[in-house]
């Protein structure tokens, strides 16, 4: 089974504040990491692919997102593809899914696309399903188990809030993997030094089939951020005072008043 895993580089630290005067973003550090939910999708791919089958990994992002692809390669992926172009900047869910779909169409045949459940920065958990739609293939979300099956099908178990569903899906298809379903392997130093070159290539808008700028980045995004603002809080602070003993007495009093004790 030839597999493509979609991954994303996310900020290692999501602490971001807005300067109340200028409206500018104040970012705390610029360290990045591979989105933790993508690790489970990568591990799933490594477990599914057999000898002679490929695991390719794809990301859209700035030049430094190459680091995320290399991490996936050192974990075991055969190749990384970086989709990077200033004209992709400001993409919302639709424009992101569209860009990925265009890149995947140029990658040749595949059987399965795997995504993580969500990213830790955007947190929308929507790109996977939109990507499947734009590629015209079926998808399933919250997948926790996969079995191979005959006749170009795959048997997938996924969860709804109160149910689990086991279904047989026609390949090629896209699956969004749940977290905590396996133990992702670590990047291998041995693999890193055994590779003669870094198997990562870059695609820009000019390499895609559809080159109309208006379908990408901010221009291709139906949603627009009108403003960003620091969160407002509804309560006024009500702080208890005293040493641990006095604090405890007060809490116990509150619990008693509300009849919890």
């Amino acid at each position: 089974m030839n597999i493509i895993v979609c991954i994303k580089q996310v900020p290692a630290n999501t602490r971001v504040e807005v300067d109340p005067k200028t409206g500018a973003l104040i970012r705390d550090g610029i360290d990045n990491k591979l989105n933790p939910y993508d690790l489970y999708a990568l591990e799933t791919a490594f477990l599914l692919a057999e000898q002679g089958e490929t695991v390719r990994t794809l990301t859209m992002g700035p030049p430094q997102a190459k680091e995320a692809l290399l991490e996936a390669v050192y974990m075991g992926a055969d190749e990384g593809v970086l989709v990077s172009d200033r004209r992709f900047a400001g993409a919302d869910v639709l424009a992101t899914a569209y860009t990925l779909s265009q890149a995947i169409k140029g990658l040749g045949p595949y059987d399965l696309i795997l995504c993580g459940k969500q990213t830790t920065d955007g947190d929308t958990a929507q790109v996977g399903a939109e990507l499947a739609e734009l590629l015209g293939i079926p998808h399933a979300g919250n997948v926790y188990a996969i079995q191979k099956a005959a006749d170009s099908r795959i048997v997938v178990s996924n969860t709804l809030e109160n149910f689990t569903i086991t279904q047989s899906i026609l390949l090629p298809c896209l699956l969004c993997m749940d977290g905590d379903i396996n133990t992702p392997r670590l990047p291998s130093y041995k693999r890193k030094i055994s590779l003669f070159s870094q198997p990562v290539r870059e695609l820009t808008l000019d390499d895609l089939e559809e080159r109309d700028e208006r379908n990408y980045g901010l221009m291709g995004s139906p949603t627009q951020v009108e403003r960003i603002f620091p969160p407002q809080n509804i309560h006024t602070r009500h702080m208890l005072k005293g040493n641990s003993r006095e604090l405890t007495t007060e809490i116990a009093g509150i619990l008693k008043k509300h009849r919890y004790i």
Binding site: V16, A24, L25, T124, T166, I169, Q224, I228, N243, I254
Partner: protein, 400 residues
């Protein structure tokens, strides 16, 4: 439709330096008189607004305008699975009615399933103007492809201005599929929805890891699509009399084809759902070592509370995903919630701030959690918790 333009004639080494400094995404670089913006750019526009005047400008590009008058009505996708309507659908109908009162639009419900008669009656009692029903044996269980076909049929037939979908597992699978099919925007997990008089839906959600709120609009596309989590809005009170209209739509079977075959559906073992819990003890990274969890568990047992946590404690494997409160976990609306060693990110707070009594214990008196708490306890949990547990055990002796 916007684009950044660099005006090369105005570039100096000095103003380039300033631009490089103010770009929050470090995506501006300068080399030998040439200023470049790389693909790290998020089009935030700070270089235009706060940078040296006229060096980088934002150019508005003309685009085809959607005729907003053609798209009328606020629609709610009704989640109906295994003979039950999900409560989030009721909450969204209540919100839709509120939003519709500003633009005087009708409120629609879209119901896809099989044997839906009882659900239709219930929907009418919540004040829906029209219920569009796709009732078919082939739609008995949720399958993305035929459900997306029916949903898309509703959109092309009715042309609603806004669509609200519950951010359940089904909603998160179906809404993106349909939004991509009709090439419109989709905003996930909105916590506030407002309506402008021109029918633009203002969608507010936490962004950038939750420390910022983003106000999002879909100014030039219809329908406007968003998802909202369970328990973010309140359930409306049903009307005593109903007067809504029911429209049954039968799609030809070949429109409901499907490349998925369901082999088994199992109800999960009944466990108390965190979203329904009345009393909760939540623990965060401030707990320090795993050893300290014992006293948190003891407190939860003493109060008959459900134990829950923040995201980092799921990521480090101490808790299961279903025990997590916050935007990427469960939203709760408890009568009493203790937060222990939780600093209170917006994402966590969004998942619990509607709770009726919030008691926060944290050693940093400036932690944001105290902005949400009804009672802030600035103390060391290693001292407060054992003492509190003892107090509860001797319960009867407490004098208020």
């Amino acid at each position: 439709m916007k684009r950044l333009n660099i005006h090369t004639d105005r570039i100096t080494p000095k103003n380039s330096e300033e631009l490089i400094r103010i770009c929050p995404f470090r995506s501006i670089s300068y080399q030998e008189g040439c200023l470049e913006i790389d693909s790290g750019c998020r089009m935030c526009g700070i270089c235009v607004k706060n940078g040296p005047t006229g060096v980088i400008t934002m150019e508005e590009m003309t685009s085809q305008k959607v005729d907003k008058g053609e798209w009328v009505g606020i629609a709610v996708y009704v989640e109906y699975f295994a003979g039950r309507m999900h409560n989030v659908s009721k909450e969204l109908i209540g919100k839709a009615r509120e939003l519709a009162s500003i633009t005087h639009h009708p409120v629609y419900a879209v119901l896809i399933g099989w044997n839906t008669d009882d659900c239709v009656k219930q929907l009418l009692s919540y004040g829906v103007d029209k219920v569009f029903v796709y009732d078919n044996r082939l739609l008995e269980f949720y399958k993305t492809e035929p459900y997306a076909s029916a949903f898309t049929d509703f959109i092309t037939r009715v042309k609603p201005s806004s669509i609200l979908v519950g951010a359940t597992h089904i909603g998160r699978s179906l809404a993106p599929r349909v939004a991509a099919r009709v090439r419109t925007g989709l905003t996930a997990d909105c916590t506030v929805l407002q309506m402008k008089e021109n029918s633009d839906l203002v969608q507010i959600r936490p962004a950038f890891g939750g420390n910022i709120m983003a106000q999002i609009v879909t100014p030039n596309h219809r329908p406007q699509f968003c998802t909202v989590r369970y328990k973010v809005f309140s359930e409306p009170i049903p009307y005593p009399t109903t007067q809504g209209e029911v429209i049954q739509i039968q799609l030809p079977d070949d429109m409901l084809i499907n490349s998925v075959e369901i082999l088994a559906i199992n109800e999960k073992q009944k466990e108390t759902d965190l979203s329904e819990a009345k009393v909760i003890v939540a623990v965060g990274r401030g707990i320090g070592s795993k050893r300290n969890l014992a006293m948190v568990k003891e407190l939860a047992d003493l109060l008959g509370a459900q134990l829950s946590c923040t995201r980092p404690l799921v990521e480090n494997g101490w808790f299961l995903g279903k025990q997590q409160i916050g935007l990427s976990g469960r939203t709760v609306n408890a009568d009493l919630i203790f937060t222990i060693g939780i600093s209170g990110s917006v994402q966590f707070a969004a998942g619990m701030k509607e709770s009726k009594c919030i008691i926060a214990i944290n050693n940093d008196p400036n932690a944001p959690i105290f902005d949400y708490a009804h009672y802030g306890v600035p103390g060391d949990l290693r001292e407060v918790l054992p003492e509190l547990n003892n107090r509860i055990k001797e319960g009867a002796n407490i004098v208020v």
